[in-house]
Point group: C2
Chain length 109, copies 2
DNA sequence: CTTGACGCTACATAATATGTAGCTATAGAA
DNA sequence: TTCTATAGCTACATATTATGTAGCGTCAAG
């Protein structure tokens, strides 16, 4: 289901890894799910609660994709990062402080 | 049109800046557009060419949104980062090498 | 043998994105 | 002045995705 590096995606015939990644992250809720998992494992229903109003249909689809892509895995504790996923998650962290600066600057104008 | 920090977005009633950001970046082509601008200013048509097959309708919508959000601006040289946008762009850069590692690891399994 | 949590699936409806065509404006050459 | 080229779009029908609600099957505790 999910597109892997090397496969064609929107905007890239060749399937360059970065393009595949950007395409995946650009799908609704993907970034948000990765964000929520930063603080530890969560069950399906916990994720549903944190992502206010996400539909179970779509949440499930994204979780499947992220598992195929080996960014998350699933055990009795729920869903959580793989090693790869955790490395990606670390790159997302700085966005929090950036976004606060952004909010401040937009307020001024 | 675009949602700003403080406004309700998918998955966040309160409009926390990070949630607004993740929602915006999670819209198709947004990340890709920001990625392409990393290497300098590009005209509308150059962007269209780099984002193979993006429709002008949507490209225009995203550019409008990103301008409202003060991440990019537009002049005779085309579209390019604002200061804020450039800071965000810097956070995207490490994703390239991460994605290569990811591709290698997926190949093995 | 019921209750509650978990991880989903089905499906109709609504929101978004795509693809193609083509319009308007500006600049430079003929 | 009229041709050509480029830029920045807009219109619109169609196709793809996402949403919201209902509810199913499984397991474990009480």
């Amino acid at each position: 289901m999910a597109k892997k590096p090397g496969e064609r995606v929107r905007g890239s015939e060749t399937g360059r890894p970065i393009m595949v990644l950007l395409d995946q992250l650009g799908q609704r809720w993907t970034l948000r799910i990765l964000w929520e998992l930063k603080s530890g494992r969560l069950t399906f229903r916990e994720l549903q609660a944190r992502c206010e109003n996400v539909s179970p249909t779509l949440l499930n689809k994204r979780l499947k994709d992220l598992r195929e892509l080996q960014l998350i895995d699933h055990d009795t504790g729920g869903y959580g990062y793989t090693q790869l996923g955790s490395a990606l998650g670390k790159h997302l962290k700085p966005l929090d402080s950036w976004s606060k600066r952004w909010a401040r600057q937009l307020d001024q104008s």
